[in-house]
Each structure stands twice: as structure tokens, then as C-alpha cells.
Symmetry: C2
């Protein structure tokens, strides 16, 4: 079971959009996928039009198992949802004296044979749940919106990943995914250039601005359902190819 965290401290950079479309894309290719929503905003369930009463909060508090909490979202795609209750688990973990950072890893262990890939949609910022997310992941995909403000936070995020990597030695910041590439402005191209200068081959081909990616959420669909011939679908399809191929080579 390969665990991929979609994470970045900056808000609104396409973490959820990437997590939802990556998960569904891999499921469409035949992988058995679990999408874990690790954000109090509970956007994954809304993005896929799914309802679930038992959430990650109950799992992290030990009140439910992952199997009791997951729900089928699509063919080959299960969802472990969250909602505002997740702040309770965050508080409980923060108040633990030690090993709070292992809660998610321990919760996922029993389903290692059930899924090929776990994709975790992280919340913006850094808190006890965020540390848990990085603490159980094999790889991180870091979406970076192509703006100066988003770029400004990337090195802090890299240091945050390195700190967690000291006790999760498998953790690898594998891909930088440039998002919101606006071909009408020089700002996107200039920010992309700086990312490539710093991260080289880790930088994927960017996801272009495409209103259909935003609209898909309103229809409770992935981009592959809402607009399969859109730029957004083409860009995420290419990205999924990169991710799936890397998996095959491991």
C-alpha cells in the first residue's frame, strides 16, 4: 500500500482538487484507492457528492476503525471523510505527551492489503493532524500555485517535511506540482522558472488555470466526469500518468 500525501502549508493551491482527481484517475486505471480527507473543511466528500457519518475524527480518537469509517465513493475508490469534528482529534493528539504523531499510521495499518494507494488530502497549515499525515506517508506531492505568495512558503514547507522525515524515514518529497498556470501573464512563467531552478526534475508539468476544475466541485464530480475533454482533465491525466508510472518502477 503506497501512501501519498497531497500537502502544502499555503491555502487554496489545489490540494483538494489534486487529491480528488488523482484518486479518481488512479481508480479509473484499476487501482484500489482510498482517499483520506484530513481537513476540518470536509471538502472531499462534497467534491464527490458522498455522505458519511463516521469520520477520520472518530478513527483518530479510537472510537471507530477505518473499515467502519470508509464509504464507497466510486468504482475502486473509497473515501474516509472528515468534517468540523476533526478539531477534537487534533486537540486530543496535541495534548498527548508522546507518540501522538503515529495515530494515523496505526489506524491505516489494518487496511494495508485492501488498497493499492492511499491519497491523503491535507489541510493548509501545520497542526497535530498535519504532522500525522506526513508521519504516515511514503511520498508527498506538493501543489504550488504559480504566484509570489505561494512560492514564498515553499521552503518553510520543505523544512517542515524534513523535520517529520527524521522520524518517518520513508518520507520523500517526491513531486512539486505547479498549479494555476495562467498563460496570459508573465508571473506564472517567472514563478515556474524559480521552482525549476530550485527543485529541478521534481517539478511536474503544470496544471493550467481552467474554470472547469472549479466547476466540477459544484457538480460533485471529478474533472474526468464533469469535463473529460477539458484542459484540466488533460493536465491531470498527464500528472496521473507520471505518478502511476513512478509507482510501477518501484
Amino acid at each position: 500500500m503506497r501512501i501519498i500525501a497531497i500537502a502544502m502549508t499555503k491555502g487554496g493551491v489545489g490540494k483538494t482538487t489534486t487529491a480528488v482527481n488523482l484518486s479518481h484517475g488512479l481508480a479509473l486505471r484499476g487501482q484500489r484507492v482510498l482517499l483520506v480527507d484530513a481537513d476540518t473543511q470536509g471538502q472531499c466528500a462534497k467534491a464527490l457528492g458522498v455522505d458519511k457519518d463516521v469520520t477520520l475524527n472518530e478513527v483518530l480518537l479510537g472510537e471507530a476503525t477505518v473499515l467502519e469509517a470508509v464509504t464507497k465513493a466510486r468504482q475502486n475508490l473509497d473515501l474516509l471523510a472528515s468534517d468540523h469534528r476533526l478539531t477534537r482529534a487534533a486537540l486530543a493528539i496535541a495534548r498527548r505527551e508522546r507518540d501522538g504523531h503515529l495515530a494515523l499510521a496505526e489506524a491505516l495499518a489494518p487496511v494495508a492489503e485492501r488498497y493499492d494507494t492511499v491519497v491523503i488530502d491535507a489541510a493548509p497549515g501545520v497542526d497535530a493532524v498535519a504532522v500525522n499525515v506526513l508521519g504516515c506517508a511514503d511520498e508527498v506531492i506538493a501543489p504550488v500555485a504559480l504566484t509570489p505568495a505561494a512560492l514564498a512558503g515553499v521552503l518553510d514547507f520543505v523544512r517542515h517535511v524534513e523535520r517529520v522525515a527524521r522520524h518517518n524515514t520513508r518520507l520523500d518529497l517526491r513531486w512539486i506540482l505547479p498549479t494555476f498556470h495562467d498563460q496570459r501573464t508573465r508571473t506564472s512563467a517567472e514563478t515556474l522558472r524559480q521552482l525549476q531552478e530550485h527543485f529541478g526534475a521534481k517539478v511536474c508539468r503544470s496544471i493550467r488555470v481552467n474554470i472547469e476544475l472549479a466547476e466540477a466541485f459544484g457538480w460533485r464530480q471529478s474533472i474526468f466526469e464533469h469535463a473529460p475533454r477539458s484542459r484540466g482533465a488533460a493536465d491531470y491525466e498527464a500528472f496521473i500518468g507520471t505518478v502511476a508510472e513512478a509507482d510501477a518502477r518501484r
Copy 2:
């Protein structure tokens, strides 16, 4: 001293852009303004090109006073900066048994005569610092990006504000500020219509998409310095007029 929180759980909706430009705009009008960065990302200092070693973290931990932590950012504008250290204060407050939510209010009390307006740039999400921010504010300005995903989180945020309002009885969700209004798509217009249906007169005139707002950050300037004749400057100027006028009528 009027305390305004720029807050919204959703990430990347223009909280920092609004906080920085509102602060500088009020300062340009002659108000004595304190901008408080309450986000571990520390974006306010970067947005204004200011450096400061003593941060909100030290103030909330009781290791420094607000006066020791503030630094002059512009004429009439002081900044109380943050950086990644803020997670320590968040953890300390979360671990307190009670009254942790009053830390910021108590810290700001001594400077009540020094500033006309305090603008607080909140982090995305909900944590102990976020509760402190709402716990000391008189009013909230809630930026809402005009996309389905951003709209989806607004009612949860309203409930979060109502919860804090039970112990901070001055707290008022005063303005909904629609942001990223893209006039080329129907999505913006449709989302705006839904906001107006729900929040009526609280909904301000929207801030349009304008790349100069994103670029200003890269130049470490407010929009009034970077591009005073841009749409971004015009839209924020109109917004500041609304906010300042409301202040005059109190």
C-alpha cells in the same frame, strides 16, 4: 481601538491580500493602524518587506509585550509579525485547561490608546490561535472566493463565528467580501448571486481578479504602491471606503 479580523477557514481566498491592503489603505487615510499576522506562514512581513525577530508567538507565550514585538512597516502602520514559531503558542494555548482563548485580547489591551484600528490576518482553518483571533475582535470581514468550493465552507465558518460570539459578545460578522471575481465566467456571477441571497446587505462589492494584486506581494508592496491605477487598487479603495465609513458612523 477597533479590532477587525480578516478570517475564513478556506485557504487562498484573499485574507492576507485584504489584510495588507486594508491596513495600508486606512494608514494612508491617517488612521494609526496595527496589522497583526496570526498565521504561521508569516506572509504579512513578506508582503510589506519588513523584518522582525520578536513575533506574536513570544507575545502569546508571555515572553514579550506587544510594544516590544511591533515594528514600523509604513507611515501610520505598525506590524506584529509571525513565523513558523507560532505553532508553539498554538500548542501551549491548546494545552491550557481554560481561558486560553483570551491570550490575544489580554496582550492587545495595553496598546488600546496607541492605535485607531487593529487588523488581524487570520490563518486558514480552525485552531487555538484562530479562536483567539475571533475572541478579541469587534468585527469580522470574511473574504469568499467566488468558486463553488469556497462557497461550500461559508456556512461552517459562520457557525464557527457564532460559537465564539457566545463568549465574545461584541463579535459581529460584519462584511462578506467576494474575491477573485472573474468576469469572463458565469461561475463568479452565480456564486455571487448565492452569497447575496444568503447574506444580503453584508455582501460588499467584489474584488476582481487582477494579476497586479498577486504581483504586489513579489515587490513587497501594497497595491497602492505597486499599481495605484489598477483594478485591484480601485476595488480595494472602494472596500476601504466602506469599512472606514462604517467606523465613522459607530
